[in-house]
């Protein structure tokens, strides 16, 4: 990075003017960056180049990659709808290695611990870098300065935006599907590897030069529903096993049993009620974590008591939202990802459980998206600072261990609440400065901890509504002081000068960078 000039962006972070040889636009503030130009325009195909009978099957993944023209320096995309049960991404790069192809950019919608297998290819130059989340082992490898290129992390919406806008040109997309026909129509609801939906691969299908559809469940045309259109697909491949089902979706989803977390969840739900958010026709989004699930349950209780129902619930779904849908507490689930078998079943069978995509829900370079229409969203964070800026990718030890997911996109909801424990492993969550800024404080409205609720001073409307509610209101500074009194102020990690990853904002600008860790 020595040739780069550093620029200070709108949240005060220094970012280089180039990353991976590409020009950086520093974060300018929410809604401030005006995109120029036009969407990416793929080459015009013609049916004359595709089989009349619609049969695009080739004999194996290697043949598909060769036919798709795999070569040095290309960008290859895969997707995380199989989560830690994915069997395709590793095979793609095994094949690249076998073919002697080098310097690839891997562009996954997210990576998981199962992709630790790829570290060897990051080391030997088969893969230059990952643009996508670097969870777990890949995050550790990257944090220690071992990846050749600089990682780029984007939100789910930011990934769609980057592909749509041509910031990331995908040469070959490899889409793994629980069910597909030979034409390439595919869905996530049928088959042994059923994962619910394939929305994370939508952008890739629309914009990649070549699209390979791989499945272990080849059905006769037409594969219904077609969550991905075969009209975008170049080659189809039948494999023996596309994913490990027990690692794709969970058979059991559990609500937290921790008294502290339950207290946080209950206070969060009460806050929503007192603030006037829980009313007939409202909407909310909760994740699949134990605390979020508990919040959903407390909200359901409030709704039953009031005799009201929600218009829609944004998922990540699992059995709890599904129960609410089936009980009639909510009209629709608009779902980006199913986390358990009940979620898959409901999406398959219930027309009111609707699959969404980063395009519909999160793309900031659209004519609106769903995220900003949600009344309240509950999100996690590793750290929050006294200005309500929050971090979701690095830990306080500086290690990059998580992806952004839909987190940045969800910040646009009408009320963003972070229900957080005041400290984790005796490390306070609230800081003077977070290690990495992933979301600017102006979009984060409320922090709910087991020791009190801090409302962003910008939200005078919320403060006014709950001031006489009896809720334990406090300030973020007081929460920080209280945590430090209990835990002490933790030592800062030893962080080096090398930029190992960039954090993109939803509009393609760079909101922060992550630097290498100096191992003790």
């Amino acid at each position: 990075m020595s040739n780069n000039n550093m620029m200070k962006n709108a949240v005060g972070r220094l970012v280089p003017d180039q990353i991976n040889g590409e020009k950086v636009i520093p974060f300018k503030g929410v809604g401030k960056h005006v995109p120029e130009g036009r969407k990416y325009a793929p080459p015009i195909p013609t049916c004359a180049d595709y089989p009349d009978d619609g049969n695009k099957l080739v004999s194996n993944l290697k043949e598909a990659l060769v036919k798709a023209g795999l070569k040095d320096g290309m960008t290859i995309s895969t997707h995380h709808h199989f989560r830690n049960g994915d069997l395709i991404a590793n095979q793609v790069f095994d094949t690249a290695k076998e073919l002697g192809v080098k310097n690839l950019r891997w562009f996954p919608s997210a990576s998981f611990p199962c992709h630790e297998h790829l570290i060897q290819y990051l080391e030997d130059g088969t893969i230059n870098r990952i643009e996508g989340s670097m969870n777990g082992p890949l995050g550790r490898f990257t944090s220690e300065g071992n990846m050749k290129g600089v990682g780029v992390l984007r939100s789910h919406g930011g990934r769609y935006q980057a592909v749509q806008d041509g910031e990331v040109h995908i040469d070959i997309a490899v889409i793994a599907a629980p069910a597909a026909d030979a034409f390439g129509n595919a869905n996530g609801v049928h088959g042994d590897a059923a994962c619910g939906l394939l929305g994370f691969a939508l952008a890739d299908s629309q914009y990649a030069d070549k699209v390979i559809m791989a499945t272990d469940n080849l059905v006769p045309f037409p594969c219904i529903p077609w969550q991905i259109h075969g009209n975008y697909v170049d080659y189809t491949v039948k494999v023996d096993k596309i994913g490990i089902s027990e690692k794709i979706v969970s058979g059991t989803t559990r609500i937290t049993k921790s008294p502290d977390r339950l207290l946080i969840a209950e206070m969060t739900a009460k806050f929503c009620d007192k603030a006037g958010i829980v009313k007939d026709g409202f909407s909310f989004q909760a994740g699949a974590g134990g605390t979020s699930l508990a919040i959903g349950n407390f909200l359901a209780d409030i709704m039953r008591n009031k005799g009201i129902k929600a218009r829609f619930l944004r998922g990540g779904s699992n059995k709890y939202p599904v129960q609410m849908l089936e009980e009639g507490l909510v009209d629709y689930i608009l779902d980006g990802q199913t986390f358990d078998l009940e979620g898959v079943r409901s999406m398959r069978d219930n027309p009111n459980h609707v699959n969404t995509s980063p395009f519909t829900s999160y793309n900031y370079h659209g004519k609106g998206n769903f995220a900003s229409m949600v009344d309240v969203v509950f999100l996690g964070a590793t750290e929050v600072d006294v200005n309500f800026n929050a971090n979701v990718v690095t830990h306080s030890d500086g290690y990059l261990l998580h992806g952004i997911g839909g987190w940045q996109n969800c910040l646009f909801s009408k009320c963003t609440i972070l229900p957080l424990p005041l400290f984790r492993d005796r490390i306070p969550v609230i800081k003077d400065e977070v290690t990495t800024i992933c979301g600017p404080g102006e979009l984060i409205d409320v922090i709910v901890t087991e020791r009190g609720i801090a409302i962003n001073p910008r939200r005078t409307d919320l403060i006014e509504k709950v001031k006489d509610s009896g809720l334990p209101l406090t300030t973020i500074e007081e929460l920080k002081t209280e945590a430090e009194q209990i835990c002490g102020v933790p030592a800062k990690p030893k962080i080096g000068d090398k930029v190992i990853a960039a954090i993109k904002w939803v509009d393609g600008t760079v909101i922060d960078v992550v630097r290498n860790i100096i191992k003790e």
Copy 2:
């Protein structure tokens, strides 16, 4: 057209080198034209320019058109899913007239007699020309040389192709929907004007600069299903009445009672059986005309007798395909247009009755489409020549009275059959030369008439299969001779030199032109 040079295309027709000031590519033969360049790239929008709460409602259509920047010379699109019950297209141009806007290009997916109202605007210069079907009164007006610009007719697939490829840049798309939310999500299955689906508007939503969604049935977000994505919509408008329901879909669909037509239908079904097409898992497409419906019924009988079922049926649907679906004679209806209330009901309630679009079914500049995968299709024609070239837009009197619809696209099926009466109103259907070539003979396989079946000599495989079937096989020359013996050879119409419309092939090349009629 005096400044144009004429070129002879691959079916021997003279076409000008320019139409409406744009360069013409003459038809080169099926699959011969190789598209260059890239798809049309719309400007990148940003959520910052759209309301956070998703409410894009403006007070009326006029305000929406003004906000969308309506001005001289623009291209305005509308759609024909309300068929002769459409109330929107006329209002759009009434508004343009009121605003004094001139020289518009109207780009409907089809026009209907209800659009006769627009002739005044074609006369006064509000509208320069129609690119789309010119049915009935508009066809007559155009044929008599009264339209300022040259009409351009495209198939449903060709319309998608033209928009996708940037041949036609739509400035403002006005989409009328039986149900929509304020964000612009919309469908055709709910509401007083329910028409089934909105697929004809898909390209417009994706590629138009500005998209206006008009509905008389505004539902709270989310409008489910969203056949059109609100993420593509700029403005939404609530109107009192969007369409006249009894003119949109029929309450009754009737099978022909004509003995001749029934004979043709029965022979067609028998031909399919003898040719080995009617087998387990086969597919077919039939229109909504009385003869086509009868063919479907005869096929259903054969299937019941054989104890087999079809994998899918391509619609245009109505109660007969719906009965087949519900009886279990077919797994899926892949439907581009619902013609009656039973079709609407089935599409709304039955997940195996799937809505399609010109993108999935017909776009020739895709990575394949559905049309070529259909085993057999039954199509109409106004005329066929002895080389099996066929006409579907003009009559033998030279008048341009029909659109192409999906007709050209369907020719790509594995077997294209034209079941036709040998003559209509004592005018023979088979000619030495058709008035207008809409489909090249190489794609038309079989002509079934009440006096015999002619198989295209290119299809030696079909000839071989049915040679001992006992079916009344003949040649197209014999059919022509027989008709002329009965009716005589009709006088040729008086056709002028002025090119009044161009007929595009599915790949954007020009397969023929239509010239003006000299009134006697």
